[in-house]
């Protein structure tokens, strides 16, 4: 019995992992242009980026998932609906790129002006200054807030069940209806706990690796 439940839950957890990994990869990338947009000297672009971040951070992720899944069909009749998983991924990626962009922005804006100026007086190009001087300092600064946000993402994947994606909580809950068992649902917590534990160790290693220098 225990073994069967564990196998079933692993099936659900594979969906959880899929949402987690794809969201992480795409929103880490997409967060960068949004961060640069929010810092742009070109006002309309800055306004656009910041409004986007405000809306995304100002509304629940659960609602965003619902809107992405049901919204298109309400606006254009006859449009073929997105798959449940695709809707979840789109909403998650948009949501997390907004949060990541703010972490990037904080990290970049925390670099002292003197670092740029010192590099400028040494004849470096803007590109060289960003990649050779600023980037690693930003990475070091954002590892702790990033770790936090990524752990939150692990647990946010459970929101996918609102559009019936069969992630681990959904699977655990099914046992209540089908076999009147409550403990599988509690058991899902172990999966999250172990996975977050592994991630915490990885983040710790990264922080350790960057410990050889200090930023002001």
């Amino acid at each position: 019995m225990f073994w069967n439940v564990t196998l079933k839950l692993f099936e659900g957890f594979s969906q959880t992992l899929l949402i987690f990994i794809l969201t992480l990869v795409f929103s880490l990338i997409l967060g960068l242009p949004i961060a640069f947009g929010s810092m742009s000297r070109f006002k309309p672009l800055r306004w656009l980026s910041r409004t986007f971040v405000w809306i995304i951070r100002g509304t629940p992720l659960m609602l965003q998932v619902i809107i992405v899944f049901y919204g298109p069909a309400l606006i254009w009749e006859g449009i073929s609906p997105l798959s449940r998983m695709a809707a979840v991924l789109i909403a998650f990626i948009i949501n997390y790129s907004a949060y990541f962009s703010e972490i990037y922005r904080g990290g970049i804006e925390a670099i002292p002006k003197g670092q740029y100026e010192a590099a400028q007086t040494l004849g470096m190009t803007r590109k060289q200054i960003f990649f050779k001087v600023v980037l690693l300092q930003v990475v070091k600064r954002i590892v702790p807030p990033m770790s936090n946000e990524i752990l939150t993402l692990v647990k946010d994947t459970s929101l996918a069940r609102i559009v019936a994606v069969k992630e681990i909580i959904w699977v655990g809950q099914e046992f209540i209806a089908s076999r009147a068992l409550l403990w599988p649902l509690f058991y899902t917590g172990v999966f999250y706990l172990v996975f977050c534990g592994i991630l915490t160790l990885v983040f710790g290693k990264i922080e350790e690796k960057l410990d050889y220098f200090k930023v002001q």
């Binding site: 100026e117 040494l122 004849g123 060289q128 001087v133 070091k140 050889y212 200090k214």
Partner: protein, 267 residues
């Protein structure tokens, strides 16, 4: 006085404002190759902004900056202000900051070699001469760090060094790209009195090697020892300039005397 060779740096009628606030106006001076000029004056008199203008970190509203007879900047000629040229123009000047601004993720040695290596990549034929060029850059970095007395700290990171040592690395870093004029922006203001001496000693040794320098400082006795010319700035203009024996020891202007009395009173 007979004209010697052309000065390496000529600053002509330079003015700078931030919005409506005038920082300095109509600044004129010249520096001979191999000589050192000290700029003294109270805080807010425009000294730092002047250095920042020379290093193209700020853009003056009026005036010209001429180095070795070439006009690098003319406020009335926008062709001298093109973004793409500024990077190379900056290399005529080196700047040592009050707060060092070393790159924290690089060792002392790498701080000194980084910019030179990046500049070497732009040279034609870099790929075929790569090994030799890198070796030259590294040898020069070792030499420069030796010159500032840090041969034993090549592999230390900035946070492992004292303020005085960090500032000496910053001096070596600025020298690495061979600037025509090395500028110092209150190089010892962020240091304990104990650490000030070691930095001043290094600057003095550079003066003895005829490095062309422009030094903004609050250290009067140092300015007197090192500088060939001293300029006293007050409220955005140069009130008095001349040899230290005049400006510091025997000032002609009442305003200079007043300023120095306050300083020497503290010493």
């Amino acid at each position: 006085m007979a004209e010697k060779e052309n000065p390496i740096l000529e600053v002509k009628n330079l003015s700078k404002s931030f919005g409506k606030v005038e920082v300095f106006s109509d600044i004129c001076f010249a520096i001979e190759k191999g000589s050192a000029m000290a700029v003294i004056g109270s805080s807010g008199s425009g000294k730092t902004t002047l250095l920042r203008c020379l290093n193209f970190l700020e853009t003056p509203e009026h005036g010209q900056i001429v180095v070795k007879g070439n006009c690098l900047f003319d406020a009335d000629d926008s062709s001298t202000q093109q973004e793409k040229d500024i990077r190379h123009k900056r290399l005529h000047f080196g700047l040592v900051f009050q707060s060092f601004n070393l790159f924290p993720q690089y060792s002392a040695f790498r701080n000194v070699t980084l910019a030179s290596e990046l500049l070497a990549k732009e040279q034609p034929g870099y790929s075929s001469n790569r090994g030799r060029l890198i070796k030259e850059i590294q040898e020069r970095a070792e030499y420069l760090l030796g010159q500032v007395g840090l041969s034993d700290k090549l592999n230390n990171y900035p946070h492992e060094l004292s303020g005085g040592q960090q500032q000496r690395v910053a001096i070596a870093r600025a020298l690495a790209v061979n600037p025509d004029i090395l500028c110092f922006d209150e190089p010892t203001s962020a240091l304990d009195p104990e650490l000030t001496g070691e930095v001043l000693k290094v600057i003095k040794s550079l003066a003895d090697l005829n490095t062309t320098m422009l030094i903004v400082t609050h250290e009067m006795s140092f300015a007197r020892d090192v500088a060939d010319t001293v300029a006293f700035m007050d409220a955005g203009s140069i009130v008095e300039q001349g040899p230290p024996s005049q400006v510091i020891s025997n000032p002609k202007q009442a305003r200079t005397r007043q300023f120095l009395e306050r300083y020497l009173g503290n010493n």
